[in-house]
Amino acid sequence: MFGKSLNLARRHFSNDVLKRTHLFKYHKETLKGKMVPFAGYEMPVLYPEGIIKEHLFCRESVGLFDVSHMGQVRIVGKDALKFLEHFTVADLQSLGKGKATLSLIMNEKGGINDDCIITKVEDDSFFVVINAGCKDKDLEYMRTIKGSGDWKNKDISINYNEDNSLIAVQGPNAQKLLDQIIGTDLSSMDFMTSQELKYKDKIIRVSRCGYTGEDGFEVSVPESLILTFAEELGHAKNNEGNKVATWVGLGARDTLRLEAGLCLYGHELNEDISPIEAVLGWTISKRRKEQGGFLGYETVKKHLEQGVKQKRSGFMVEGPPAREGAKIQTKDGVQVGHVTSGAPSPSLKKNVGQAYINVPHNKLETQLEVVIREKPYPLTVKKMPFVPSRYYKKP
């Protein structure tokens, strides 16, 4: 993701105006982050500590991520639930108030237009976080659907909020840190739940979720408070006087999510990949699997009944890291897959990755080869996550 594509992106965007988050100046001048173009934004890819240290600090204590480039959308109205269920696989009828779910925005072919987190704020009010690189396309898609057929006459409003920043606070000490800064006790808050809280007399939305495999939160904060919030998080000290949290750039964000076996849109997921191929069937409830009623259901149903040719799989490779696009083959040289993401795992000190591998070669522990710079290296299909997830379960 940050390899050749990044250099191309740099060239591609060099004449365009890149957008900046409210913390741009803070990343660049105070934290000395290395800023690169990503999804139309100028974002920190790493800070002076470097990817490995940022990564390990997040696993050990807390990592802070500016994810304000992601889209925060509120979908409100009497018909909002039906509207969202029309183009996502989410089961919002059975989702409780204040609960959040990972879901997929689907196209008619049964491919994935984007992955998103949907929070049910009220029965007629939803908070949806979508990928930075997809947000323009997603909003247009939602608005097109809303303007078509019967949806025109329904009670639905789509409000895109660009004022609030979004900060991810991830790691085993994330709750303690937020408790201290917000002045609350979040231990009764389960993973994949969300609530509004007060921070310095302003409303912030705190969601217990993340993209690292660790316990953690994503906090939506008004622009007026974002710098204060960022500084308080970064400056916090523990009893020994050491820092509790470190800022983490896009580089370690990628290695963390990769170790956690999570998908990155544009790599593991795209408009031609079905949820079943992506091994995300668990995002579709029994009711929705049986009743459908979402775009692309015919393909999903067919894939559920007849199986799929290829599946998203984890792997480890001996030799150099296998990067996106590398060919996966059997020992006889027959191609059976391709790499979608790959990097050295800072926690395991092994080269890990995700790939699409043809069935049945995707069976765990299957020995295959991956071709890197024209040389084959041994690859083993592995279970994901590579590093066990530590999502919070309330006592």
Binding site: F2, G3, K4, L6, V45, L46, G50, I51, I52, G251, D254, T255, G319, P320, P321, R323, A343, P344, P346, R373
Partner: protein, 110 residues
């Protein structure tokens, strides 16, 4: 026989970040100026090191193969990658010296 050691600059290692693997063409490999002779893998990316002159690989830096992070800490000294035989010394005339390189970096800073 004119030989030389090839590495990457301190600036280049900074751009790549934590280096985790180096993949050097075998001893005896002959190459033309501009061809890739080593691949460097950092956590975030893979990059090729291009031959500054035409020549032949005569040795690898085994320390770097065992400990790739040496390229980060000592890029322009102990972190060299490959030793080569230079076919034609005239190729060297096209290269920048350290001072010219510093100036180049300064001019391209943004």
């Amino acid at each position: 026989m004119q030989t030389g050691k090839i590495g990457i600059t301190k600036y280049a290692q900074g751009e790549l970040g934590d280096i985790v693997h180096v993949d050097i063409k075998s001893v005896g490999h002959q190459f033309k100026k501009g061809e890739g002779i080593t691949a460097i893998e950092s956590v975030k990316t893979a990059a090729d090191v291009y031959a500054p002159v035409t020549g032949e690989v005569i040795a690898h830096n085994d320390s770097v193969k065992g400990e790739p992070a040496l390229v980060n800490t000592d890029a322009e000294t102990d972190g060299w990658l490959v030793q080569i035989k230079i076919n034609d010394e005239k190729d060297l005339n096209d290269l920048m010296d350290a001072a010219a390189y510093e100036k180049f970096l300064e001019e391209h800073k943004h």
